[in-house]
Symmetry: C2
């Protein structure tokens, strides 16, 4: 089953499209973290966090490696941050203004 280019993009964006996963990625802006740090900082259930991390790894958004009992994570590509920043800009614009600032496209 061949995936289309659009399906690839949609998969990446779906993996990013969850508030907690966004918080995780933004936490990882400061560098490598393990589950045992992310969980408490974001107040996420252990199994819930584990599944979120799995989604991020599967889509190649974060990379993981074991360090003893821990699993460390970092964001694989700085373009991930760029996507989130752009989404923030668009969301911000949409939230603040009505329909009339849209003439720039």
């Amino acid at each position: 089953m061949q995936k289309t280019q659009e399906e690839f993009k949609a998969n990446i964006l779906s993996a990013l499209a969850h508030p907690n996963r966004i918080r995780i990625i933004e936490l990882l802006k400061n560098g490598t973290k393990c589950n045992c740090e992310i969980g408490p900082e974001l107040e996420l259930e252990q199994s819930n966090l584990s599944r979120h991390m799995k989604i991020l790894v599967q889509e190649g958004i974060v990379v993981s490696w074991k360090d003893g009992l821990r699993v460390n994570y970092k964001v694989s590509d700085k373009r991930i941050f760029a996507i989130l920043d752009l989404a923030g800009n668009v969301a911000h614009m949409e939230a603040k203004v009505g329909v009339e600032v849209l003439e720039e496209a």
Copy 2:
């Protein structure tokens, strides 16, 4: 109900995270189109397309205006295309691991 910044971003990304909505947006790269053109070009059911467009409008990704019977659409902000392009780059990179590379239309 106060939305967090992460929820705003997640909403934008969710609205983008569907293959057909991505195809719609990329169709709109060439300018304004109406439903009656998009539907046949992408072979989408009328009601299905209508709902996809509603999602895109609600998130401020496209703007719409009526022209007689038609409803025209255009992408509200160039940054939308930037998000899709970045997602394509990341997806492309990730795809190298297993499958052979896909061509750009």
